[in-house]
């Protein structure tokens, strides 16, 4: 008899992997708890409206269905929006910081034959009620501690600014479809297309075009902030000052050398404001996690306050840990 297949992008986890992933999860949840981040859980399904309210139409969850009363429900495609909803509802009167941790599955669309997963295990934290740069620095320090705890002591945190390009384009008078196209090219890091798109925009001069291209490829140590400032303009000045503030706040915690400034960094979720991060390990060819500030998100649920968080992909952490162990044996 033929065996029963699984849907594309889903998989069974067998005992060895499950044990190792559970070990990483326990390690991180206890680290988070030590730092004051208490674990919570939100439902796997929520009203679709909740995701749309948090992340906008482009952040809409992929897997939607109707319940018995005709309401549209969705499998969560993100952990941050549900936690923002939870905090706005359950911690409405709390004036101090709220520190929460979670570990759970999210569901994303996949393309067949690409090895992508439909169900991803995410583990992370949210720090609500603490603004930049102090809150951002606290999170990055915790992120580096989490990577070290798992044995990824070569992993690096890329630090960028989600508002930089939207503000720069506004400053240069690029609006509407042209703005959308340039932001899309940036999200794909298609420098050839950015040059072509910028060339098509009559409102841009030669210097402004090369500023957009140069800025999107500018990354490295703190010195790149000076190179960015040399490109000029209030949007770049604001982002450079904000990034320098975050780096200063990090210097005290001793993790600044694990952070790379990346002015071309963009995240694909619609709620980020200000500092954004992505995590890379030299043994793995793709980002293993990310996050950032989302200072406007709580307001969308009626309880405005600054907030930020990060999530790590548990499967990729596990792959990176195994790779680092193998690399360590070879060294």
């Amino acid at each position: 008899m033929a065996t029963q297949p699984l849907p594309t992008g889903t998989r069974d986890v067998l005992a060895d992997e499950m044990r190792e992933m559970r070990a990483i999860e326990s390690l991180l949840l206890s680290l988070f708890a030590e730092r004051g981040y208490q674990e919570v859980a939100t439902p796997t399904i929520e009203y679709q409206d909740s995701f749309a309210r948090g992340a906008g139409p482009e952040g809409a969850a992929t897997y939607r269905f109707l319940d018995e009363s005709g309401s549209v429900l969705a499998l969560r495609n993100d952990m941050t929006v549900p936690i923002a909803r939870l905090v706005a509802r359950r911690f409405a009167d709390r004036s101090g910081p709220v520190r929460l941790a979670y570990s759970g599955s999210i569901f994303r669309r996949v393309r067949p034959q690409r090895g992508q997963l439909r169900e991803l295990r995410q583990i992370g934290v949210e720090l609500i009620g603490v603004g930049a740069p102090g809150g951002t620095a606290e999170l990055i320090e915790l992120l580096v501690a989490a990577l070290d705890a798992v044995g990824l002591d070569r992993a690096v945190v890329g630090l960028g600014d989600a508002d930089l390009f939207p503000q720069l384009l506004a400053e240069l008078g690029v609006e509407g479809a042209g703005r959308r196209r340039i932001l899309d090219c940036l999200a794909n890091h298609d420098l050839v297309a950015i040059e072509a798109e910028a060339g098509d925009l009559a409102e841009l001069g030669e210097a402004e075009r090369s500023t957009i291209v140069a800025l999107s490829d500018l990354r490295g140590g703190p010195e790149v902030l000076e190179r960015a400032r040399a490109l000029g303009g209030p949007a770049i000045e604001r982002a450079s000052t904000a990034l320098a503030g975050t780096l200063d706040a990090l210097a005290a915690g001793g993790v600044a050398d694990r952070v790379r400034v990346d002015l071309g960094l963009l995240r694909d979720l619609g709620y980020y404001t200000g500092a954004i991060v992505e995590v890379y390990d030299p043994a793995v060819g793709e980002a293993i996690g990310g996050g950032g500030r989302y200072d406007d998100l709580l307001g969308r649920f009626g309880s405005p306050r600054p907030a930020a968080g990060f999530a790590l992909n548990l499967e990729r952490l596990h792959i990176a840990q195994a790779a680092e162990q193998e690399a360590g044996e070879g060294r």
């Binding site: 090895g115 790379r260 890379y280 030299p282 793995v284 980002a287």
Partner: protein, 222 residues
């Protein structure tokens, strides 16, 4: 990707994936001009990995270059824009238009004929054979014409001649292959040329080395 895509040697020489195909000669010329010794690559060797001075070369099928670079098995790669457009969900960084290997993605049909119009009018859609189904779908979506896209792996020009399809979407260089099969370009879809692409993590973690190599190759591009 969630495959166990481990980088070959995250601390050794950068790895560049080159396409064994129409762009290969242009890539070798570029490497020569950048000061690399390409003698081994030019020999009839069946080897797939070559160690140059400070650069590891892996040679793969053109359409596989984005796969290697996305996973981090190669840090950099050269492939045609046609391949990148067809695989537009690959998370790689497109850094430089190298300028060689220029050609056009085009819709073509039998010369002097009205096959496409007739098929649309009488049957409601055109049958289009192509090696680039996603590029073709996106094009027909954009221009608002209905087409049934038939994926074939090679000899696309044959399809309209024997009646498998009413037209084709394919890369056109000089147009000679089309002419020899009695076909002509009906519409140009996009221009293509060789592009230098980078793995996202290598681009961040080895920024200085990647930038230096990108500059060196950019200046050497024909």
């Amino acid at each position: 990707m969630m495959t166990r895509a481990l980088r070959r040697d995250p601390s050794g020489a950068l790895t560049l994936a080159l396409p064994r195909g129409a762009l290969f000669e242009g890539c070798l010329t570029m490497l020569d001009r950048a000061g690399f010794d390409t003698t081994d690559l030019r020999g009839g060797s069946r080897a797939l990995v070559f160690e140059l001075d400070g650069l590891t070369i892996v040679t793969v099928r053109p359409s596989d270059v984005p796969t290697y670079v996305e996973s981090g098995a190669a840090d950099l790669g050269v492939t045609g824009k046609d391949v990148l457009a067809e695989q537009d969900d690959r998370k790689v960084y497109e850094l430089v238009d190298l300028g060689f290997g220029r050609c056009r993605m085009a819709l073509a049909a039998r010369a002097g004929g009205t096959d496409l119009e007739r098929a649309e009018r009488r049957f409601g859609l055109m049958r289009i054979a192509t090696k680039y189904p996603r590029t073709a779908d996106a094009y027909f979506e954009r221009v608002g014409r209905q087409a049934e896209v038939i994926e074939v792996k090679g000899s696309v020009e044959l399809a309209p001649v024997v009646g498998l399809a009413d037209g084709i979407v394919d890369l056109v260089d000089s147009g000679r292959t089309l002419a020899e099969n009695g076909l002509e370009v009906v519409d140009e879809i996009a221009a293509s040329s060789a592009r230098l692409i980078a793995n996202r993590v290598a681009h961040k973690l080895r920024a200085d080395e990647v930038d230096a190599m990108v500059d060196r190759l950019r200046e050497a591009a024909p």
